[in-house]
Amino acid sequence: MNDPQLWISALQLGCFFGLLALSYWVVLSGTGFFNFAVGPYAMVGGLCTSWLVIDKEFELWSAVVIALVAAMALAAVTELVVVRPVQRRSGRNQLPALVAVTAVLFAVEQLAGVIFGYTTLPGEELFSFQSIQIGSAELLPDALELIVVTVVVFVAMAVWVRVTRTGRLLRAVGDSREAAALLGLSVNRIRIIAFVLSGLLAGIAGLLFAPKAGVNSSAGLQWALDGFLALVIGGTATVWAPLVGGLILGVLQVFVPYYLGGPWLAYSLVILAIVFFAFRPQGLFMRTIRV
């Protein structure tokens, strides 16, 4: 428990999961829908950047911008071409949209394999500096960048949701689409903003996490699941809930294998999920609606 390297790993994983969970949160708040495709968006953010820099010899920051735009474009396409039409057709039934989004997940995964290749590419370090020694542990630059950017992003999101009109509308629309439409709020506009924003957040997450262990086209499904779990643990009450959920999941991912052995992570996650969902499906932070 006292090895600082373990805590650094947990923190790094936690921030990544937190950003993914935030990406889910934005879509969930704005549309009431769990967009599993955020996993592939993150993968594209990382893999596209690396591919452009390594294979096509782009300059780093142009590659970053292109990759993030690609992630946002994918998110927009998901909403406009898949989720909205399918949801319109299926009414209250959540399953068709869910199945459709998993098809999007696989399609993006496979397309990424075709375009970027199937081998793992190393992540791109945005700023290079000496790693920092903390006791016997080493804080690598990409870990520090991920942590700092995570904090900045969450603060920015907290401000945006409170202060800007769109931010406040986001939660209103998500709570009740009919009421929002009655009030004259542009539901569709909010939805597309939510999706595009989630694409951006996921892309940033993938980009910053890629240097840890490289990134390849099949990472999307696992990351989608990790982000979803983090969101469920933390809940949806405040914009900080996804971060708390992510950090908890990060700690679990590092310390359960450390104390109990590798297989126990999978066992404990499913037990945790069943218990959590049975007793506290709203997550740690329950949201009370002021009437």
Partner: protein, 345 residues
């Protein structure tokens, strides 16, 4: 309320508000579908013949079809999407493998034990996730699949991550069927299961189960207990799914923890969507199409999974009734056209 013969479509606009009942035409439709299914199966078996490559394709298609049929039961009937089918297929497969390699018991016993264990596991999992729906159920069953795969990869008696192989040949009371016979039996098995599932769907029980999704109060009032019904649906689905695992393992003579992956489970969801959710025959048809796309198109070096994923999206957006649904509609339209011209005379 009109009586129409079209089956419930997953995305059909009227699915959720009007359970569709039929009297005389229902029987005809069900029998019609079964007839088409049997003919298709016979044609497929004839096409497969003794060609080894096609035989292998058929085994894959049969496995997918059974897993898809297993998922179809709770998915379309009870509206709950469970991703635990990789685990159920693994249970079926490992049952056969363990009986073959670790015991001297007859092999066909594995085919019975597997589904029973899968059903029990499904019921337990169903009880633990009773209150979950939609995304949460998907997430939990996904985690369960991973936990099960991890368990099988680490347990000593399952051969660990290397799996089990080198089975004894299947012997039913002294008769060792040849591979060709087993291929034929595969076709028969899929047809029988599809038939049974379709009958279930159209039976009084199936109607009640479908009704409970939309009007649970009405179903409870009629005396049937909703939770029990869901568990029964889950158990049946898991048992059928495990038959798929047993089939594949038996025919290929080996199994590893990674044989029935999550990708396969997602493909299995897509099969009824491609083939048509209105009838259980959509699942085997979808399986044939998916096998064709993922295994039999040598010109494409890219993965067939891409085609399947894109195809599913196109179908869900443009042709939600799937292949069989459209054929069915087309048939009815033709009949109407004929009737109309007949009436005008």
């Amino acid at each position: 309320m009109t009586m129409q013969t079209s089956g419930t479509s997953l995305l059909g606009a009227n699915l959720l508000s009007e359970p569709r009942f039929t009297a005389w035409p229902r029987g005809l439709q069900a029998n019609g579908n079964a007839a088409v299914g049997v003919i298709a199966a016979v044609l497929t078996l004839v096409w497969v013949g003794t060609n080894g490559y096609r035989q292998t394709l058929l085994v894959s298609a049969g496995t997918y079809a059974l897993i898809a049929l297993g998922m179809y039961v709770p998915f379309v009937l009870a509206g709950s999407l469970s991703l635990a089918y990789g685990a159920y297929a693994s249970i079926g497969g490992y049952a056969v493998a363990l009986i073959s390699t670790k015991t001297g018991l007859p092999l066909w016993l594995g085919w019975f034990i597997g589904p029973v264990i899968a059903a029990v596991v499904a019921v337990l999992l169903g009880m633990a996730t009773r209150r979950l729906s939609g995304f949460y159920l998907v997430a939990v069953t996904l985690l369960f699949s991973e936990a099960f795969q991890t368990y099988v990869a680490n347990a000593s008696y399952t051969g660990g991550a290397a799996g089990l192989s080198a089975f004894r040949p299947l012997d039913v009371f002294g008769w060792e069927p040849s591979f060709g016979v087993l291929i034929g039996a595969t076709g028969v098995l899929v047809v029988v299961i599809a038939f049974v599932v379709n009958r279930l769907r159209l039976s009084a029980w199936g109607v009640v189960v479908r009704g409970m999704r939309e009007a649970p109060a009405a179903v409870e009032a009629s005396g049937a207990r909703v939770p029990t019904l869901s568990l029964v649906a889950l158990a049946i689905g898991a048992a059928i799914g495990s038959l798929g695992g047993a089939l594949f393992t038996q025919m290929n003579g080996a199994i590893q923890p990674t044989t029935f992956t999550l990708d396969l489970v997602f493909l299995a969801i897509y099969m009824p969507i491609i083939g048509g959710t209105g009838t259980s025959w959509g699942a085997p048809l979808g399986a044939l199409i998916v096998v064709e796309l993922t295994l039999n198109l040598p010109s494409l070096h890219t993965s067939g999974t891409l085609l399947v994923a894109l195809g599913v999206l196109v179908i869900m957006l443009v042709a939600p009734r799937g292949v069989l649904g459209y054929l069915d509609l087309g048939r009815k339209e033709l009949v109407r056209l004929v009737r109309r011209t007949g009436d005008r005379k």
